[in-house]
């Protein structure tokens, strides 16, 4: 499979009356976008706003972040199986509006939504303070049940990214990244002496606001499955806006999965990257045993010498993470885990809900309970009061002057367990 990401650098974004991209400036057709999104009967109203790096702007409550792109060669524009007809992804060429992102907000569906600050202290804690954000505020039709509400906002965000992506259709790339990998036999023949590595990406699969989707299939309904890394980069995996804001894998982070990119980077040099296994984190014990056994078996069948496992969420999935590790290590497969921790406000608590002696190589992406103080914003897109109800906020954490205190829990992407951000934990 060969996929080209043709990146056009977005230097500025403006609101206007047509979708276009010229001289580094992305123009968003506001009315056209609103009309298209309101085509869904479950959408009552749409508002569009912009937030740029350095603006004293707070966005809350954020549900998902999506990168606007358009497929220019090969099949599968948009998100096949979700917003567009099903197609095999992973090949061809994609024009990427690099540096731009669609950020969805709107009435709270669940507690797992978050905050993005575009400036100062808050900007340090989220990777999405560095993107030019097109904020889509989705007001759903009255009386939707929670599951329909979630689906509605999820689809609206994906559709918005697809529509904005068209602006880059004829743009000339500033930079082209090529992702090419043959079958595992071909690659192993090319690099017979390099250790074979599999990436296991765990996806939270636990119901409302807790599911990932693969080509539109709810990850709750799958056995662990293998996909080509190109497929995920090409949009095969989307977020169901799971778990706490800090460690949900947003759709943007699937499209730019840092674990995949960093493994690709070493492919053919230090390692032979075999592919990605997507593993659901289920809510029953039998389900957890089944998926953990199955994941370890797939890794072994592929002949992996080493595996990187990334978690999504915390608490019960800690158990899945460690069970997978235990099974792999006991097969002699060297395993590195990426997780985050709940060490309490003071950092003095046990970091994980579970434990196993086999987990000897673990990357920590930060303490979700770490408290940050965010100064007042000049402009709030959305509803600042939402913080009191979000995971990581509490009653009274928003002061009258607009400053607020919250745990990293509430900050989008802060402790990304695919290792997208640069936080860690040190023992003092």
């Amino acid at each position: 499979m060969k996929l080209e990401l043709r990146k056009v650098k977005v230097k500025d974004i403006v609101l206007g009356d047509q979708m276009k991209f010229a001289d580094g400036v992305l123009t968003v057709d506001v009315n056209g976008l609103i009309a298209a999104l309101k085509d869904d009967v479950n959408v009552k109203e749409i508002k569009i706003d912009l937030a740029k790096p350095g603006d004293k702007t707070r966005i809350i409550p954020v549900k998902d972040v999506i990168e606007p792109r358009v497929k220019v060669e090969g099949k599968g524009n948009g998100f096949p199986g979700v917003t567009t007809p099903i197609e095999q992804l992973g090949s061809g060429a994609v024009n990427v509006l690099d540096g731009a992102a669609v950020v969805t907000i709107g009435d709270i569906v669940g507690f797992q939504e978050g905050v993005v600050d575009m400036w100062g202290e808050g900007a340090k804690w989220t990777p999405f303070s560095k993107t030019m954000n097109i904020v889509v505020d989705i007001i759903p039709a009255n009386g939707l049940d929670p599951h329909t509400h979630e689906t509605t906002v999820r689809l609206a965000g994906l559709k918005a990214a697809e529509l904005i992506g068209y602006a880059a259709k004829d743009a000339v790339a500033d930079e082209v990244e090529v992702f090419e990998m043959g079958s595992i036999f071909e690659e192993t023949e090319k690099y017979p002496d390099l250790p074979k590595v599999v990436y296991v990406e765990m996806l939270i699969s636990q119901g409302l606001l807790h599911d990932g989707y693969i080509y539109g299939v709810n990850s709750q309904q799958i056995l662990p499955t293998m996909i080509h890394p190109n497929e995920e980069i090409d949009g095969a995996v989307i977020s169901g806006n799971c778990v706490a804001a800090c460690d949900k894998i947003t759709t943007y982070q699937h499209q730019n999965n840092s674990a995949i990119l960093d493994l690709y980077n070493r492919h053919g040099k230090d390692i032979n990257f075999l592919g990605v296994i997507l593993t659901p984190e289920l809510t029953t014990l039998a389900g957890k045993f089944r998926t953990c056994d199955y994941t370890a078996k797939l890794c072994k069948s592929l002949g992996a010498d080493g595996v990187i496992v990334s978690e999504e969420g915390y608490g019960n999935p800690d158990s899945d993470l460690l069970m997978i590790c235990k099974r792999l290590e006991s097969e002699g497969i060297k395993t590195v885990l990426i997780t985050d921790e709940c060490s309490g406000w003071d950092g003095m608590s046990q970091p994980l809900a579970d434990t196993t002696p086999e987990a000897v190589a673990v990357v920590s992406a930060g303490n979700v309970s770490h408290v940050v103080e965010l100064p007042p914003a000049d402009k709030v897109i959305g509803n600042a009061k939402a913080i009191a109800t979000l995971a990581g906020g509490w009653e009274g954490c928003l002061s009258e002057d607009g400053s607020m205190k919250c745990e990293l829990n509430a900050v989008i992407g802060a402790t990304s367990e695919i290792g997208y951000h640069n936080l860690t934990v040190k023992l003092y």
Partner: protein
């Protein structure tokens, strides 16, 4: 300006005598005694040792209150910016005394304390969370290497400079897991860690596995039909409206609600737990905390009674430290109420 340091040593390092003098009561001298002398030389004039308290190890451990009172009085008179104790090396009673001094001075007066101990000294676990303990060798032969480490740490603390990691500074980890920015993103660190493992190079986990302690099982209920059973949940089930504003994740508190007049939670309760799909628990909260069944069993005489209060909090993202605190508080109430057994449900 020059900072003032009060030094604490035992009878041996206070040059009073050995084991036979371990029972002497504390005294204070406006001098630098024993290690205090070498210590001050390392402060390069930026701070000075104003005096030394000498106390017998046995005396301290057997008359802690009197000893501490003497220390408080001395501090009130001398007004030091910091107290330095030891190093105690692997001397157990000396270590316990240094730890006792450290905890008391920090808790009661808020004055920082620096000490030094061998990592196996029983005093370490007593005070490492509060004091900064330089990691030193197991015998006094290591004095020459111990004092510079302690002095460097002391100066940094006095000047309110940020202390580096335990490894960088040479102190025993306090057990605080602090979130900091790394040079590289997490995925890159993971790939490098894996490659290091392949090459057989050294690597360091960023998260050593936690160790959970065990509690012996409590004795069983002899006669269920006379037993008072309490229901507790970490599933975030609260009265509709969440009157106590319990957090949906990372709970800072728990709630208790009188359920003596209701036969089920359905109707008046819902979940505020942020870690699972709430739809099914909101329909029937007894699916998370089965009060209805317990009430039924109470009516049928299978159990004596259901305790009048139902206890609840949110488990998701709640630190173990808070969970321990909640358990202690709730357990105390249940014990005092004469509860015979507890059903705790988790989501």
């Amino acid at each position: 300006m020059s900072y003032k340091i009060l030094y604490y040593v035992n009878q041996f390092f206070g040059q009073v005598g050995g084991e036979e003098q371990a029972g002497i009561a504390p005294f204070y001298k406006e001098e630098k005694i024993g290690p205090a002398m070498g210590f001050e030389q390392l402060l390069k004039g930026e701070a000075q040792v104003v005096g030394t308290i000498v106390c017998g190890d046995n005396y301290f451990n057997e008359n802690t209150e009197e000893s501490l009172k003497f220390i408080y009085d001395t501090i009130a008179a001398v007004k030091p910016d910091m107290v330095v104790a030891g190093p105690a090396f692997n001397a157990g009673r000396y270590g316990m005394a240094c730890a006792g001094v450290a905890n008391a001075v920090i808790d009661k007066l808020g004055i920082p304390v620096v000490t030094g101990m061998y990592h196996e000294n029983p005093g370490v676990d007593q005070c490492k969370a509060k004091a900064i303990i330089a990691e030193v060798t197991d015998s006094a032969a290591g004095m020459r290497t111990a004092l510079p480490v302690m002095a460097k740490i002391a100066l940094k603390l006095l000047k309110k400079e940020e202390l580096g990691t335990p490894k960088e500074e040479g102190y025993i980890a306090q057990g605080k897991r602090l979130t900091v920015f790394a040079d590289k993103r997490g995925s890159e660190r993971a790939v490098e860690m894996l490659i290091a493992r392949f090459k057989g190079e050294e690597f360091e986990t960023e998260l050593p596995m936690p160790v959970f302690d065990k509690v012996a099982p409590a004795a069983a209920i002899k006669d269920l039909s006379k037993a008072k059973i309490a229901l507790v949940t970490s599933g975030g089930i609260v009265p509709i409206g969440n009157p106590d504003r319990i957090q949906s994740a990372s709970a800072q508190k728990w709630g208790k609600y009188n359920v003596s007049d209701i036969s089920e939670l359905t109707g008046g309760y819902y979940t505020i737990h942020g870690g699972y799909d709430p739809v099914y628990a909101n329909e029937v909260p007894d699916r998370v905390a089965p009060l209805d069944m317990l009430k039924k069993f109470e009516k049928e005489g299978l159990i004596g009674e259901v305790y009048e209060y139902f206890y609840t909090t949110t488990g998701t993202g709640t630190s173990v430290g808070n969970a321990i605190q909640f358990g202690k508080e709730i357990g105390k109430e249940l014990k005092e109420a004469g509860v015979d057994g507890v059903i705790l449900t988790s989501t």
